[in-house]
Assembly symmetry: C2
Homo-oligomer: 514 residues x 2
């Protein structure tokens, strides 16, 4: 709403959150969606003209209240119920009421739209489940208004960060004919008439007449194409929708979600970890600086430790921990009597309980884990040198002794050994309290021969890989990047518990409403 | 590349554009993708160490040049061909050469990657068609580097504009179960096994076991969901991929493209036209202010009138023209002897030739056309009042006499009549020289009864519309918005002729490469 001096005429438009009548005056809490804070409208029925815009109310067929020329002002006031939309002309005055600086003394009110009596968002304290079924209306509530404004701010922060740091926003395709990334099950995209599927002599469906002349799917990642951008423009980032056709009915999975994938030429693992930490702190700091009212609301209503946790991330130096050391810590915990559901051993993919132990119990701060076993990570990650037979000191990428920008971090771990018992790659995941993995990244294998041998070892079809391999044939360069699930970030920054509540219209198994 | 004082040591990394040897020194033009401008590296072979990074060259199998420990410096220099990637340590010095302020005197060069001799981007003057087949490498050329940097800048400008104006970035879903927008043919999205399609007793394919439990497609527009956002948050914009399964092999169509769709509560047609004009001028001005080097390159190589045309848009007040008056102008042109391929009559959808006549010949400036016949526009556009039988003066929305913010524009048209011979709606398209329609927008019908009757009249299935209609039942409000095809904007701002050349990896019929 506009900022205006006391005593000045003002026109505000918005939706009615509450309307209560006392003896002499009515109070209307009005909100236009731009802020969590309502403006109070004070109406003296005798001194305020109330009119209806043409067709402000749905017709009798829809069961809404009527709003026609025949309605007198005092009657019309009764049409201003929760959910109605009005325009108020009046005077901005200092408010005698606690908790608000100003209010509006109404001279005229025009009703743009009355609200049918079956409005589902009328009552306070709706369950999130009921709200999900009314995702088209939940945006008008305090909680979802706050979440969506924060979501907007995080998107702006992301663009601002990368623009300021010389990254170019790069649009990778969503429809793809390759399945090389292998990150999950894919949705098929087709224009074929499914009632008339022709097959060839081997019984395979013929795709020559499909829109793209071959079988296509929705992408699970823009990274491989992002590398094409980075090895040309230097530094790029994607920020777009990504798809996983996994039948996962959890509070952490969406079939359609937004992902940010920066990719940078001439970067090594230390620089990449610096980038990850700096980037995510920037986003969280942006929220603290720009979303104060909404965060205070969520801190009060959703999660009482939210702001404290956000401030903690901004103020903390992240731990940088080679996987092999992480396993040592977990094994020590087991020896000390800690019970995990899944057994701990080198080579395993960490379960959520292991990540949480490291982040929430052992270090009590965000952890950047690096140098994972090759076989639990993707084919494109850069292989670390293996320890020679005679070696006894640290290796794991040799970043243990002197983590970039945090010379004190390594000694504080209290672990000296790092020699990995098997091949490791330069992966780097950021693990957050409550959320778990919020970022997954790596330095990419820039060596043509090594990359080719890994592609071959994993039986990845070469037909999908020629263009990717070309970047290693024509002026290859060291490079790396990471992926951030946007909704994971929003979960962390808002304190919301279910990923379906941080995107306007969630896509999940059996649900594509709105 | 970093900015450094003359005489200071400097390290630059990038790809070799050219390498030429004279008697005593070698000159390497190096580019890191951040700018159109190369930096010149001056190499005195006797005074410069050249080494190879481990595995800088692809193995013998790929036919690339070799780069091993055995290579001596003078031989290694020969490996630095067009397309190779190198890191140079040296001294920044003032350049004696024309056309560049500074150059680098190289002390050491490390070859990150040699370039195989079949590098397709070696030669200058490749056709755009050849480049499209090498879309993974064309990004390294001057033209595509410039286009992609401008594309990035336009995206940033768009986010900046809306953020500054209080709009929230709003992510509407891409996978949709509704076809209500009706804007074009759709791609089906499915996880069904096409080899085992079960049908019900009526012979219909059963979708209960598809991922979403029903038939789903890729969206053609986020507008309807965007209206849900605007009627809750006040003002939103989308910026995301959009899909059309049209078999259009033209330089103006993509199957997958990016679209921007702002939607605003409490806006009327005049405000909407102001927004369209202000927004697009902001974007073009951003390009002029922030992409000077790239625009100058494109102005020189692609389109000699580019910068002049961009400046023209920024400096010009757009014409605001009711459709009915536009038809009058076209009919007058026919009477004056102008030949159109398609006949002109009220109620027709303007063809490209008609738009171009108005924009490029009659007005010679951008035109915002409004108040179209109802039957050539979408169901959701706000209906104008119809002329009473006795009327003889202007109507067409009554905006003719006083166009917002441009009181002089209307008289200059020289047309007084506007009474439309049939129902019109408050659509507003922006027509640009060379591009044609760059923006399509409208005020939306906020009246429940009128909207319902239009939906019924057009036989749009109600099962898809209940949530959309709900916004008119629960506190309806005047609102409107528009859609801008991002690639159309990039075409205009870069002067490129084919839409496949302004997106990294175009999706068109029979083409989903990379």
């Amino acid at each position: 709403m506009q900022s205006t001096a006391y005593g000045a005429p003002i026109n505000v438009k918005g939706w009615v959150r509450t309307h209560r009548s006392s003896k002499a005056v009515d109070f209307i809490a009005l909100n236009d969606g731009s802020t969590i804070k309502n403006i109070q409208i004070v109406v003296s029925p005798d001194a305020c003209q109330v009119s209806c815009a043409t067709g402000a109310a749905p017709g009798a067929a829809s069961g809404g209240p009527q709003c026609g020329d025949s309605v007198v002002a005092s009657e019309a006031l009764k049409l201003i119920t929760t959910g109605a939309c009005i325009s108020v002309v009046g005077t901005l005055v200092e408010s005698p009421a606690a908790g608000q600086a100003s209010e509006i003394q109404a001279d005229t009110i025009e009703i743009y739209g009355t609200c049918a009596s079956d409005y589902p968002m009328q009552k306070k304290g709706q369950s999130f489940e009921v709200m999900r079924k009314n995702a088209h209306l939940r945006l008008r509530t305090n909680t979802f208004g706050a979440v969506m404004r924060i979501r907007h701010n995080m998107a702006i922060a992301i663009h601002q960060y990368f623009h300021d740091h010389g990254f170019f926003y790069f649009h990778t395709p969503l429809i793809t004919a390759s399945d090389a990334e292998g990150a999950g099950q894919m949705f098929q995209v087709t224009t074929k008439n499914l009632y008339r599927l022709e097959k060839d002599e081997q019984g395979h469906i013929i795709y020559d007449d499909d829109f793209f002349g071959k079988m296509t799917s929705l992408t699970v990642s823009g990274q491989l194409e992002g590398e094409l951008g980075a090895t040309a423009l230097g530094a790029i980032y994607t920020f777009g929708p990504t798809f996983r056709a996994e039948n996962s009915n959890t509070p952490r999975h969406l079939a359609e979600f937004w992902m940010i994938e920066p990719e940078v030429a001439f970067i090594d693992l230390n620089d990449l970890m610096d980038l990850e930490e700096d980037f995510i702190k920037y986003c969280v700091r942006w929220a603290l600086d720009n979303c104060k009212d909404d965060l205070e609301f969520l801190n009060k209503m959703i999660d009482k430790t939210l702001i404290q946790r956000l401030q903690g991330v901004v103020d903390t130096e992240f731990v940088r921990l080679p996987y092999t050391k992480g396993i040592e810590i977990l094994e020590q915990a087991v020896r000390d009597g800690h019970k995990f559901e899944f057994p701990v051993s080198w080579g395993m993919d960490l379960a959520s309980e292991h990540e949480r132990y490291l982040v929430e119990e052992h270090f009590r701060k965000p952890v950047i884990m690096t140098d994972y076993p090759r076989d639990i990570k993707a084919f494109y990650m850069k292989l670390n040198p293996e320890a020679p037979a005679s070696a006894s000191g640290p290796l794991c990428g040799d970043r243990v002794a002197a983590p970039s920008g945090s010379s004190s971090a390594a000694p504080s771990l209290g672990y000296d050994s790092c020699l990995a018992p098997g091949p490791t790659v330069q992966g780097t995941d950021v693990l957050f309290p409550q959320i778990g993995e919020i970022i997954g990244g790596s330095v990419r294998e820039e060596n043509y021969d090594k990359l080719l041998s890994e592609i071959t070892r994993r039986n990845i079809p070469m037909k999908d890989m020629w263009w990717y391999l070309d970047t290693r044939r024509y002026g290859t360069c060291p490079h790396g990047g990471f992926g951030l699930g946007f909704e994971r970030l929003i979960l962390f920054v808002t304190g919301m518990q279910n990923i379906r509540d941080v995107i306007p219209f969630p896509r999940t198994p059996k649900n594509a409403d709105f």
